[in-house]
Symmetry: C2
Subunit: 352 residues, 2 copies
DNA sequence: CTGAAAGCGCTTACAG
DNA sequence: CTGAAAGCGCTTACAG
């Protein structure tokens, strides 16, 4: 006789493995073995236990299992922000859903971290077994999160990358390649005067990857193709800023026949500005956007030719890599640079 | 002397409360009390323990605490979908971030559920203590999730609502009101021939709330204002469908002076179609969108007049309500209908 | 093939 | 003010 009979069940808690055991007339370890498909169990016993499980509606207590197993089986996604409201405009849903999908496939939970993270709270997440691994978004060239974690045994992976990549794993957009491809495509269409609207200056100064690398890539492309070009570093969250910057660009170089942006929103502003100046797109000027943009590309008139990445895939792959690292129980250094895909729509054409 | 000294620490696990205790030369319960701010503890002891905690980098094991405490302190957000890819186009980031923000404020974790949910796996989430509460998105009039959960003691809350609301809590968009407001606004501008582009027919047949209620609201508004109107139920995920449907609408009633849509994307299609027919917006025809749309409203030319809700706020409030219900330990029936906000931009004007 | 025992890391009465 | 004991629900050697 076990001490805990089903009649002693605490009504505030659910049905436990002990309840199942007494109901099936076996011991607790036997139920546990059946639950975990371990070793040999008499077929008849297995049946009885399964019936008891069904009848009682039993499900093993996750926290208890994890306490025993040592792993939390949960991953977290971190995007550093000041205000959560702000996030909506910079973080695409697919970054979250892609990670969530991969996590759930591997039977991990995925927490989306919104709290302001400090070095202390970051370490605490691991130390308190709240998470087994972390997926880091919006990584800077010199990122305190990386600097802290790289000297710890705690697994993490970057979407994006920092300056010193020794021994670290990441998946990042190949922005340098994208810039070269953009110029390559436009030059082939005969364009020789190309404007560029890129990330804000302070993003670059703060060392945010795409901001740094898009400008680098731009300069390389200029060198390579020897075209005339000018650029502006601008705010990315409104059509207006794209509008103003485009007017500004046109004033500096009225001969522009193409404009490249790093946001669809900005491109929409460019089109508005060009229209206001009596220039049609793509007739008088081509416009091209590099980056994500969901369905924005086809909302704009004319629809935007883009060099684009799938945030869903990237996030999915990063999360999968995290689970593999955890399964391997050792750092699995994998560094992946993802090339963009050229999607030609209506906003670009040969120069007349 | 405790049996577990810090030298016997399993390197695969972190530092435990026992390690802190031996380091500080006190018992485990004493450390626990200090950790939880319980009762009277000698100031000197507290100091010593805190020093040990610092020195060892100790953080209490979350799973263990939860096992003891009985609550998982985690909430889940569920959006029913066939394929995760599809999700990106229908679920806005702020729904996720709003919930995550509220959860983290109340020290809950938030899991975003992507796995295909079955009645069984739903119950298991609660029974296995994986979650304490659930936030349900995309609720149908007759929703199996609700039907199942309402006869269980497991707390949940809807964003949206089903047909039988007895004793249930929800936060929903007031779509009926929105339709009346849309018509009210347009009628005041002198419009008497108004087209309406709404949710797909099969959404309505499947009983998805907004699809059902927007058409209901539309009919009420027609009655109330006695205007001429025709509508189409169409796919919402592409500009093209809005384009085609608008041409169709114009053929049925060439006198249309206004079009209302339930998606910004659709409205963009309408504008394209009107332009193709040689009609300017808003000069010859006004266009208005009801719903969310992020920054799409200002990307479109002309920018869209909208009746809009903040998904961030709605999700935030729903999650807060969930935590309050959990704190109260009893169903806290709260039913909230959120009115939309009218934002006048460039796509509407008085009829000439 | 199955049970008694120990332990995962923590907290809560219970005694001092 | 503090420690010894019991227990949260489960799993894993260890013996039969």
């Amino acid at each position: 006789m076990t001490k805990k009979s089903s009649s002693s069940r605490n009504p505030n808690r659910g049905v436990t493995i002990a309840d199942v055991a007494t109901a099936a007339g076996v011991s607790v370890p036997t139920v546990s073995r059946i639950l975990n498909g371990k070793e040999y169990v008499a077929e008849e016993t297995r049946q009885r236990v399964h019936e008891a499980i069904q009848a009682l509606g039993y499900a093993p207590h996750t926290q208890a299992r994890r306490l025993r197993g040592g792993a939390s089986m949960t991953l977290a996604l971190h995007y550093p922000i000041e205000s959560p409201h702000e996030l909506s405009s910079v973080l695409e849903t697919p970054y979250i859903t892609g990670a969530a999908a991969a996590a759930s496939e591997k039977e991990y939970f995925l927490n989306f971290l919104m709290s302001q993270l400090t070095p202390d709270s970051l370490l605490t997440m691991y130390r308190s077994n709240q998470i087994d691994g972390l997926i880091l978004l919006q990584v800077r060239m010199d990122d305190w999160r990386i600097n802290l974690l790289r000297q710890q045994p705690y697994p993490f992976i970057m979407i994006g990358r920092c300056a010193d990549l020794d021994g670290l794993s990441f998946i990042d957009l190949d922005f340098e390649l994208a810039m070269r491809q953009a110029f390559d495509y436009l030059v082939q269409l005969g364009h020789r005067d190309i404007g560029f609207l890129t990330y804000p200056e302070d993003w670059r100064i703060r060392g945010i990857g795409p901001a740094v690398r898009s400008l680098d890539g731009y300069r390389q492309a200029l060198n390579e193709y020897g075209v005339h070009s000018c650029y502006r570093e601008i705010g990315l969250n409104s059509v207006e800023e794209g509008f103003e910057a485009t007017l500004d660009l046109l004033q500096e170089n009225p001969n522009l026949t193409a404009i490249v942006t790093v946001r669809h929103l900005t491109a929409a502003g460019s089109i508005k500005a060009l229209a206001q100046q009596g220039r049609s797109v793509p007739g008088d000027c081509s416009v091209m956007a590099v980056g994500f943009g969901g369905n924005l590309a086809s909302v704009v008139t004319p629809s935007l030719t883009t060099l684009e990445w799938s945030p869903y895939e990237i996030s999915y792959e990063a999360t999968l890599l995290m689970t593999e690292t955890l399964a391997a129980q050792q750092p699995l250094t994998k560094q992946l640079l993802v090339p963009p895909q050229l999607v030609v729509r209506e906003s670009t054409q040969e120069v007349k």
